[in-house]
Amino acid sequence: MTPVFRPIRRPIRELADAVRARRVSPVELAETFLERLQRIGPRYNAVVTVTRDRALSQARRAEREIAAGHWRGALHGIPFAVKDLLATSGGIPTTWGAAPLRDQAFDFDATVIERLESAGAVLVGKLAMVELAGGMGYRQPAASFTGPGISPWGVDAWSGGSSSGSGSAVGAGLVPFAIGSETWGSILSPAANCGVSGLRPTYGRVSRHGAMALCWTLDKLGPIGLTADDCGIVLEAIAGPDPRDPTTARRAFHYETGDRSGRHFRFGMIRGVADTAEDAVRDAFGRSLDVLRTIGTVVEITLADLPYEAITRTILMAEAASAFEDMIESGAIAGLTAPEDRFTAYARDAILAKDYIRALRLRTVVAREADRVLSELDALVAPGRPALASPIDREFRSASRGNVPDVMGAIGNAAGLPAIAVPNGFNEAGLPTSLQFMGRAWEENAVLAAARAWQRLTDWHRRRPEGADAG
């Protein structure tokens, strides 16, 4: 008797093999994950909309195509969900996590969704997020009309912002992979808090057409999956130039999976990068360095003395204030969920044009400095997030708010550099910690290779949260 195939929390390649071999059908996969989104999603405040009709239609089509011998590739028939800042047609709302926009709808699909569906993937839902991707200055997890995002690793632990639903849905096995967005920390943080892998691509690698704009020169879309390999597979499907987003680069991306055995990596670590991290994060990072030294060298790097966080924060604050000028000036932000989001953005009128342009000029200095360092390395390594998931009913520490240092995030986002966060341990309470690899611009393959090598040596990415049904 053929054993029943259990699709929950399996990497994409395992699902793809099963679909191609017809051990499981796209419709069965869609039904499984639709049911989980519906039944388990509310436990984590992870889901805004379950796209049942669209998913089943796509899944049936995938099933017919595969039965006819037309297999499109690893994503064919694989369910996925997106952060609810990506436009969807067909009357499916796109809420941006904001109560005043609960009924917002578009008549087109974001490029990322189009590309995933062209690859045969099946859209099963739209996932919760911090309202307006956190751009109004939120200070605590209860900043979305769907409630505070909850990590599958702790009933009162935050799933991280702002791609909170994308992190917890993957972590809890509600979808095989999801799309998130990062302006500063919004892919790496939920990946860290939910014990999964999250890839922030190089700025301009992935089209943002149809995505809510928070900061035009900082926003990136990227995958969150169980493994680095999952992220690579998804990135290949969504990357590439798009005439509808003039910031996309004319560079094709081919995901390189040919790992050379015995490859020797060159890792760098900014001096003191983990000094201000929480104890469990710092300890896990220290142990990770020992593992990394078995596959490469780790050298300490000293960066030029620049106000990295202030530069990125100034750009973020100014662009977000402009992107949401209509909501701010009209007072519509008063309808947002987090009390601080209802007025904090007013302060950004205090940033003058000259201040913003100075920050942009300094960003050039940062980009050159980062490239100088990274040109000698495969990746800089650091904790994926300096703090563990905070309790959902308390204020959190955040670099974008300025009360915790995050030089890696400030540099990586200001300079638009790729980075991946992967699980690297747990604290005593069972909350995950993570490790990030950040590379030179356009070198996603280098950080993915490093992260894959890490995941071949460790099993943190295979751990399952107890709270989520094994299914």
């Binding site: 202030a310 904090t344 007013y346 009128d349 205090a350 100075r358 300094l362 050039t364 200095v365």
Partner: protein, 70 residues
């Protein structure tokens, strides 16, 4: 509206701009929070001013002239 005594001149000027536009929408607690936010912004901007930039240090990305047929 009187500003907190502790506000130095630059904070005071920038805060006046903010409160001039939005002060009527704010309660006392929110006004105090905005004062702290503007102080943080001024501190942030001051740190940016501490870095020497030359005439040729230009921002990225550069503006690209647009043509709809290209």
């Amino acid at each position: 509206m009187s500003l907190p005594d502790r506000a130095p001149a630059e904070v005071e000027l920038r805060l006046a701009l903010v409160l001039g536009r939005y002060g009527g929408r704010l309660d006392a607690e929110q006004t105090e929070a905005l004062c702290r936010a503007v102080e943080a912004i001024v501190e942030q901007i001051t740190s940016l001013r501490g870095v020497l930039l030359g005439n040729a240090d230009e921002p990225l990305p550069r503006f690209i002239p647009f043509r709809g047929d290209e």
